[in-house]
Symmetry: C2
Subunit: 345 residues, 2 copies
């Protein structure tokens, strides 16, 4: 198992990336290929006493920054991201991880690695924490600001397989993010998606609302990338505000200060629990090989977790399952259509 | 100052509504008109020793329930909601409060009370808590699942005036809810709205993201009603999950239990602080007279707060200011257009 890692993606690259790779090489059964400027990688590793054992470096002179226009990846073939994606496409690794520019990874993965046949659009599937336990997959968490209902239906099918295979959820509950529980709620997009999802071989539980999603009312929350991105970031924002406010309040008086110190570990644990970066990174669902987008602010541990997830994603063969499910769904639709025509004849 | 209250709107009607009205009549300088079944109102008041002093009852035999199709309000003129809205339209009160079916209040207010001239669509302006202090207005929080950019521009103008007049925010910061901070982010709707907002006499601070909104990065967060409704409900859901999880975690061991008991008051205070129902209710912005939608699960205190808000909304004359601002904006656009034509000539 070889995971290709973009050494220059993310806010803390390359230092935290290299540290994370060292942890992964030691703790997980993986070999790592780093892409990026070889001299800098070797210098940073030496300066920080990071062992590059079991790691191969493939030189890439350029870097796609967070501010770069994602479409530039088409021409910036020497960027650490493009080089990594092309190695994956050529079969010189089993999975690719980057904490860099999300749009660029998405564009690059679609362009170089290609989508699974029949997938209309790749989506970012972010695994979010659910309270009191477990997690759910948000599909799409931001790749496609505008979607058609057929895309949402595919997101649902892919997310369901992911949760089943990777998180061992039996018969994952699929919910459509909406502004009310009744099937008549929402815009044309939700109305159509509701109909499509109802007819698919999925455990579709209907519309789900924002107030129930963080409590884990479903295992896959389906929406367009605009709504998904807002949902993800608001979850992050409220958890952060809540934790900070808690601290502020309790450090006010001696009595509450003592109380806070007694529970501080718990608050930190809770905040960690609500931190989706703990889950390692978001798979680009619908791409024909495993591509994992780690959070831009990833530290070493987050990178290690993303590599673990990349490994799992590859080993469990989810992508083959998705391919098979899409073909079966296509056959099902064809049969239903033929039956419809026959009964009309 | 007379506030008309729908005695049969909301999950806890009529008991909590009557209790809330009693509190308001005692604590605030308001007279109250209750709409609904007179016999039931009098019986419930008597059974629960609620004084109806300073209150007038206008009988209404029917009730719009939470499950009713909102458009039915057109024909169900004898419902407590329709009767109340018509009293407001006829000038037999200064403001209207209901905790009932949101869609029905919106449809009824638009139909009976009418929009301010020039307003394309009325919106639900929910005042949300911001951490560590203050609040922001979410516009639209759920009235219009689909919007045009001109509608968002009007929401921004109305929300800004509301925050200035009612919450005494000087030069309110208006943010456009988006999936990135750059002006090029989002769908066609956000791109167009960004342009419109940039040209308006508002303190437009650009795009705002979900992770910064709960921290109070802006005073008015502008979005369509679908995104707004998801944002509102996710905020509620995460705060609820966080508070519950905190409790669960700390009641696990003797040590953390003691710590939790010492800070319990603080956690409750924090949860209250994050509870938008504390802010009293959501004004229907763009309606020509004050209509306040209280939360469906309102208790007596929430109803009292909604009545206080209705009173403030009426007294401060925000609606006249909105009317004037819309006329000025129209004149500004006309002048800009004329200038454009002249320079082309």
């Amino acid at each position: 198992m070889r995971v290709i890692v973009d050494a220059f993606g993310g806010d803390h690259a390359p230092l935290e990336i290299l540290k994370g790779c060292e942890m992964a090489a030691r703790e997980l059964e993986v070999e790592i290929t780093l892409t990026g400027n070889e001299d800098i990688i070797e210098k940073v590793a030496e300066d920080n006493q990071i062992s590059l054992e079991k790691m191969e470096i493939v030189h890439a002179g350029d870097v796609m920054t967070m501010e770069d226009d994602p479409t530039e990846i088409r021409t910036r073939k020497d960027s650490s991201m493009a080089v990594g994606l092309n190695l994956l496409a050529e079969g010189r690794g089993d999975a690719f991880v980057s904490a860099g520019n999300t749009g660029a990874i998405l564009t690059g993965a679609t362009l170089f690695v290609k989508r699974i046949k029949g997938v209309a659009r790749a989506a970012i599937g972010t695994v979010m924490p659910a309270m009191p336990s477990g997690c759910y997959m948000l599909m799409d968490a931001g790749a496609n600001a505008e979607c058609r209902s057929e895309m949402l239906a595919q997101f649902a099918a892919m997310g369901s397989l992911y949760m089943e295979k990777i998180h061992h959820v039996r018969n994952p509950r699929v919910g459509l993010v909406n502004i009310g529980s009744e099937p008549t709620k929402g815009t044309q997009l939700q109305l159509e998606a509701y109909q499509l999802l109802s007819g698919m071989p999925l455990n579709f539980i209907g519309n789900v609302e924002g107030r129930d999603i963080p409590g884990g009312c479903c295992d896959v929350a389906v929406c367009d990338g605009f709504v998904g991105n807002v949902l993800l970031k608001v979850t992050e924002g409220v958890a952060k505000s809540f934790a900070e406010e808690l601290k502020r309040m309790f450090l006010k008086s001696a009595k509450t200060k003592v109380g806070y110190l007694m529970i501080k570990g718990g608050v930190d644990e809770l905040r960690r629990k609500m931190d989706y970066t703990e889950y390692g990174g978001a798979p680009l669902m619908g791409i024909s090989k495993p591509v994992i987008k780690a959070h831009g602010s990833s530290n070493a541990k987050a990178i290690k977790n993303a590599i673990r997830q990349a490994k799992l994603y590859s080993e469990t063969g989810v992508i083959d399952d998705i391919r098979a499910a899409l073909e079966a769904e296509k056959a099902r639709q064809k049969a239903a259509q033929a039956e419809g025509e026959e009964s009309h004849a």
